[in-house]
Amino acid sequence: MADTLFIILAVLTVASALLVVVNKNAVNAALGLLISLLGLAGLFVLLDAPLLAFVLLMVYAGAVVALFLFIIMLLDTTPGAAKPFSKMTLVATLIGAGLLFTGIYSLAHRAVLPAAPATLPVPTMKNYAEQLFTTYLLPVQVVGFMLLIAMLGVIVLSKKFDQTEGAK
């Protein structure tokens, strides 16, 4: 059962990711990203991380992709006659293929992967919370500041001019 699900989800994820890369239309690309996300969320569930799957869907599907779609609609960029690819195609494909090959090669040569321990800690909400608020409290605080400057940055970059103080 799990194996079948894995294959289905993996194919779904990769295929939709391919859609993001090759599709001419930005809207379709965003939809591809969305489907890819769904596949990933499914894989997360397979990996015993349903909470992460939920967060992924919330943040990405709920916010990021929605934002993308919103912006695409807002900017109304017509999928013009221009080709969607630049002339760097060959280079890019080569590098990408190289990366792929590296990944497969490393796996095929059995890069020494650590074996699974006997007991797996259950990733419950409580476990995550404990980690986040003890060990990783400092990065959590830092991320808070990061979100603050991101918010301020978006405001600065989008606010109307005449209210700014330099104008007086």
């Binding site: 992967l113 409290l137 400092l138 990065p139 990061m146 940055g153 330099g166």
Partner: protein
């Protein structure tokens, strides 16, 4: 929440050790509070608050330089306090202070909000200090991304200028790309190292110490090596090493001048602080792979930076590309540090001299920039020496130091690195570096020439009126610029203050 948990929090999180970072971050918040509560006509004092805070924190770090916790791991191993960390703190605080100074010159020319700028600078400063002291890849990545996102905003801050936004977008795309590559590297390392149990506590492949241990025992692990290389790619982007230097000229030109200075000095120094930690402590067992890769990178960086800078006429692009070549010399120092430990101090010495000289030059540039911040050509420097001898002199000292002309500080920096490289037997690289220095004399001298020689002719034939009005430096501006120039000259003659402090 159980009491046990609270105890754990209290036990492993030594917040007081991070007082400088916390103070700076709180000051950033206070700026926003001040903006809300202060009456509008007093808003111009808000930047002063930021500057005063930075000065105070800088002073307190300098006073408590050798505190009791040096060498200790805090926050359960997220942070490691060290001598180099203290040096990095001083460096970033000083640099941000000067960036704030530049901002007080440049921001009033635009109609952009000001408080937010200082707020972001302060937050980025705190993150930079954490970055240099992090001992754990999660902390490292979070701090790095905070810095990066801050820079995305700062680079595109003058959004009424399309070129600035274009630079912002370029920095955004390439920065995000490098972050993604680096992240994948971190993940690979994490996966390769796995879990280690010491005294019943599980340690993961995020901790520098664990990774170093693992690599010492498995120097040929493919996943870990690939991960390390990917992480170094990300760092190479930060420092602008070849082939990740392509973003530099465009972004440096488009970014507001204070931000260009911030990028050139702090961002680059952060890259080298991280690189020194990673290469010397974490990835040192991979030196058989790293040394050739880094050597080729360093040589290519020096060549690419210098060749590209030769034909530049835009001052900001020139600073960017010449900065690339400086990154090359510094990389040479990092490689040398693998076999000659003193080279790490030489790298920091170089970074400090680079800070002083670059900030002096950017200070002059900030005074000369007109309404269009992206349009700063060398031709605009004509008549500067005659009309504003102070600016001309500071510019000459700064550029001279960058070019590594004795007796200025930059020469000492280069000398120490070259000596270290020689001791590390990096002869080929040294030859490339020497060639680079000679090339750099050409374009730095061209700039000095533009400011000093061309107009000082006895027969001012075809003299046209200087197109752009120069911002007259205030007394603060004069003081800061003079101090920078004097420090650059002084460090060339008398290095005791800095070296005694770096070599402890």
């Amino acid at each position: 929440m159980s009491t046990e948990l609270l105890k754990l929090v209290a036990g492993s999180n030594q917040w007081w050790a991070l007082t400088p970072e916390i103070t700076v971050a709180c000051a950033a918040l206070a700026l926003l509070v001040l903006e809300i509560f202060l009456p509008k006509e007093q808003h111009r004092f808000i930047p002063h608050f930021a500057v005063v805070t930075l000065v105070m924190v800088l002073g307190s770090v300098a006073v408590t330089f050798e505190h009791a916790w040096l060498g200790e791991q805090l926050f359960g191993g997220l942070i490691k306090l060290s001598q180099l960390g203290q040096i990095a703190r001083v460096f970033f605080l000083l640099s941000s202070l000067l960036v704030c100074f530049l901002a007080t010159i440049c921001l009033p020319r635009t109609r952009m909000p000001r408080v937010e700028f200082y707020h972001i600078v302060l937050v980025v400063t705190a993150a930079l200090m954490l970055l240099a002291q992090s001992n754990h890849f999660v902390m490292f990545f979070v701090a790095l991304e905070t810095v990066t996102i801050g820079f995305y905003i700062l680079v595109s801050y003058f959004r009424d200028n399309a070129l600035t936004l274009e630079a912002g977008l370029k920095y955004l795309v390439l920065g995000a790309l490098s972050s993604a590559i680096m992240l994948f590297g971190i993940v690979l390392i994490y996966g390769a190292v796995g879990r280690v149990e010491i005294d019943g506590v599980v340690h993961t492949g995020f901790e520098y110490g664990v990774v170093a241990d693992f690599l010492r025992h498995n120097p040929h692990n493919f996943l870990a090596t690939a991960g390390a290389l990917l992480v170094l790619c990300g760092v190479a982007f930060k420092i602008g090493a070849f082939p990740f230097q392509i973003w530099i000229p465009d972004v440096y030109q488009g970014a507001p001048t204070p931000v260009t200075a911030f990028l050139a000095v702090s961002s680059k120094a952060a890259g080298f602080a991280v690189l020194l930690t990673l290469v010397l402590n974490v990835f040192a067992p991979l030196s058989a792979v790293l040394v050739p890769v880094l050597s080729v990178l360093a040589a290519a960086t020096i060549i690419a930076g210098n060749l590209a800078a030769l034909s530049q006429r835009n001052a900001k692009r020139l600073m960017g590309l010449s900065g690339v070549s400086h990154a090359g010399y510094l990389l040479m120092g990092v490689i040398a540090a693998l076999s000659v430990p003193a080279a790490a101090n030489a790298v920091w010495f170089y970074l400090f001299t680079y800070l002083l000289a670059s900030m002096a030059v950017f200070g002059v540039m900030a005074h000369l920039a007109g309404a269009d911040d992206t349009h700063q050509e060398l031709d605009h420097y004509e008549k500067i020496a005659r009309e504003r001898p102070l600016l001309g002199a500071v510019l000459a000292v700064g550029l001279g130091s960058l070019a590594g002309i004795p007796p200025l500080a930059g020469f000492m920096g280069k000398l120490l690195i070259f000596v270290a490289a020689f001791q590390a037997h990096l002869y080929g690289l040294l030859a490339v570096a020497i060639g680079g220095v000679v090339l750099s004399i050409y374009y730095y001298f061209g700039w000095i020439k533009a400011a000093w020689f061309e107009t000082w002719s006895l027969n001012p034939a075809g003299s046209e009126v200087s197109v752009r009005p120069v911002t007259v430096p205030s007394w603060i501006g004069r003081t800061v610029l003079t101090a920078l120039a004097l420090a650059t000259v002084l460090l060339g003659f008398y290095q005791e203050p800095l070296t005694s402090w770096l070599m402890k």
